[in-house]
């Protein structure tokens, strides 16, 4: 174990905590921007620090392809390679493999696929995934799981769940740096509460430093999504961090935090920025819209970021989808928005005003009032 998780405040199931990792002390709930290829698209590491980013995610699949984990290791690890002093998390590589490579196939050995570089058949085993992540050197590493989309039904879900449990033991055995890197297990089981329960108990038995809820954020209906998150957070240990993978939309983050989750990651804020969409308290602002061309207000008058302090919607409108600077400025604003959301979640729980924060947040977004009971 290379982390400490200290809960500072609660409201019902929501909790605010200090998560102490080798490179940084983080405040949860928190959102992690995704730095796919050793960089967050459109921002420098200086800017990430400035907006209050605490931990970023690196994709093992992309990094293993380019520039390779061996080179990263040789150059002192990913922190040094990309000059990021704070915390880092790497995923196992499994998800990208399955979602990006149409010829990927999962067997008991691991994930077999065709190398996108030269077409050769390759195999990513739990052991190999952990070795790659050991070389990259992130504070948190993820177990290789057998991930199945929740829209799929049938025996495949059960097979994947049991395989995930068998693979976690192989991951634990292969992990060479348990005192510097924290191996998180991932709960699978689709939308089936029985399978999810078996998986949670199996992972908890292994006494891992933290746990992730996987297999969601893939198009399932919202009611199923909340139910699975609620079930898992209720069953996972109180004193360890809980990470909902691939989430996401600000609303989802607020609700999952109310249900007791602590960490999130998603490409959404930066990806939607590249399409000209800004995240605002009311929801989304589409800067491409013709109406923006003579709107001299900032994107969000209440936002304190460099973009909102200096630029009008009209100017950003003239840049988006035509000039790279448009993507950069919007990415900066959107990530600032997510960091501010994380800070607000943490401080409102610590200061005992979480329900007020949530209701305020929801009111602005949906313009109706909700009773407190729907937050539980």
């Amino acid at each position: 174990m290379a982390l400490r998780f200290e809960v500072l405040g609660r409201f019902n199931r929501a909790r605010a905590a200090h998560l102490t990792l080798p490179h940084f002390v983080c405040e949860t709930p928190l959102f992690m921007p995704v730095g796919t290829q050793g960089t967050i698209k459109g921002l420098t590491t200086n800017q990430l620090e400035e907006i209050g980013c605490q931990i970023i995610l690196g994709n093992t699949y992309h990094l293993a392809l380019r520039p390779t984990s061996e080179l990263i290791d040789e150059l002192g690890g990913l922190h040094k390679f990309m000059n990021w002093p704070r915390a880092m998390l790497t995923d196992s590589g499994g998800f990208q493999m399955v979602s990006l490579l149409h010829l990927a196939d999962i067997t008991e050995k691991g994930v077999t696929f065709q190398s996108p570089v030269d077409g050769k058949p390759m195999l990513l085993t739990p052991e190999e995934s952990i070795q790659i992540q050991n070389r990259i050197g992130a504070d948190i590493i993820m177990a290789l799981d057998d991930v199945v989309r929740t829209i799929i039904t049938g025996p495949r879900i059960e097979e994947a769940m049991y395989r995930t449990l068998r693979w976690i033991d192989r991951c634990i055995a292969a992990h060479k740096r348990p005192h510097e890197q924290n191996l998180f297990g991932i709960v699978q089981g689709g939308l089936d509460p029985v399978l999810r329960d078996i998986c949670v108990r199996g992972l908890v038995d292994r006494n891992l430093p933290g746990y992730a809820i996987g297999g969601l954020a893939g198009g399932e209906d919202k009611d199923s999504f909340w139910r699975v998150v609620a079930q898992c957070t209720a069953a996972l240990p109180e004193d360890k961090p809980r990470y909902v993978m691939g989430v996401g939309y600000p609303l989802d983050i607020v609700v999952c935090s109310a249900l007791g989750a602590d960490m999130y990651d998603c490409v959404y804020p930066t990806r939607t920025a590249r399409f000209g969409t800004a995240l605002v308290p009311e929801g989304l602002l589409k800067l491409k819209n013709r109406a923006m061309s003579d709107d001299t207000r900032p994107i969000d008058p209440a936002c304190a970021c460099m973009v909102c302090k200096n630029y009008t919607r009209a100017y950003i409108h003239s840049l988006v989808t035509k000039d790279a600077m448009g993507s950069q400025l919007l990415s900066y604003h959107n990530l600032y928005y997510m960091m501010q959301l994380s800070r607000n979640l943490h401080s409102s729980i610590v200061q005992g005003r979480f329900p007020e924060f949530v209701c305020n947040f929801l009111q602005k977004m949906v313009c109706i009032s909700l009773s407190l009971s729907s937050c539980h």
């Binding site: 420098t44 200086n46 800017q47 400035e50 061309s293 003579d294 001299t296 460099m306 302090k309 200096n310 630029y311 009008t312 009209a314 100017y315 409108h317 003239s318 840049l319 035509k322 000039d323 790279a324 600077m325 950069q328 400025l329 900066y332």
Partner: protein, 229 residues
């Protein structure tokens, strides 16, 4: 070339500090908006819609100062998606870009995307090939852009031609450039320093003729267009 050692306008002061044995000179440029004076010879940073292409505005201060404080702006960039009315409403370049301590030098063309199209230029205006198609810019329209943008320095509209045109075409380009020089000066807003455009291709006489005409007008500097191909 002006023989005086210094030039003043409301936004800009320039003085020569030293000469080489030949014709090179080192000078210093004071702009009201820039906190420190800028040594010349000086390079302008190229921009796209006013912001540098390669670095976001919050990171600009990390570049050497004051050497990175002069930015080249092409007014043509704004024709794609931003009206002059809106730019005026926002308050001009400094307000729009959030760059208050940087000086802007407006020249119609840039070095990559907005290039003069000599074959389409006529007596009414200068033609440019741009990302939003071919545009014919008349002096009055150009001055409307300058008045909205309010750069510290701006070049007058020129009929730029490549080095291989006929003598006749080359002479026409000088005639037009001088005519447009007067039209631009007549419409010039208060506050900006006018740089008279000098063309003439590779003909020494035409270059001299153009330069002499520009020198006769009350301009703060000269902007020479040279075909590097």
């Amino acid at each position: 070339m002006s023989s005086s050692n210094s030039i003043h306008s409301s936004a800009m002061k320039f003085a020569v500090k030293a000469w080489s044995n030949g014709r090179a000179r080192a000078g210093v440029l004071h702009l009201d908006c820039c906190p420190t004076p800028i040594d010349t010879p000086s390079l302008l940073l190229s921009t796209r819609k006013g912001l540098p292409l390669f670095i976001s505005p919050d990171l600009l201060p990390s570049l050497p100062s004051p050497d990175s404080h002069l930015l080249h702006v092409s007014p043509l960039h704004f024709l794609e998606g931003l009206s002059m009315t809106t730019i005026s409403k926002i308050g001009g370049l400094h307000q729009m870009l959030g760059l208050h301590e940087y000086g802007f030098a407006a020249v119609p063309r840039d070095s990559i995307q907005c290039l003069p199209e000599a074959n389409s230029t006529n007596k009414v205006g200068a033609s440019f090939e741009t990302p939003c198609g071919r545009l014919l810019i008349k002096p009055a329209e150009y001055m409307e852009m300058i008045s909205s943008l309010r750069p510290e320095l701006w070049a007058t509209l020129a009929d730029e031609v490549p080095a291989w045109v006929s003598d006749k075409r080359n002479k026409t380009s000088v005639d037009r450039t001088i005519k447009w020089l007067d039209e631009c000066i007549a419409l010039s807003p208060t506050g900006g320093a006018v740089f008279g455009a000098i063309v003439g291709g590779s003909s020494l006489e035409e270059r001299q003729r153009c330069a002499q005409e520009v020198a006769r007008r009350n301009v703060s500097g000269h902007c020479s267009f040279v075909d590097m191909r």
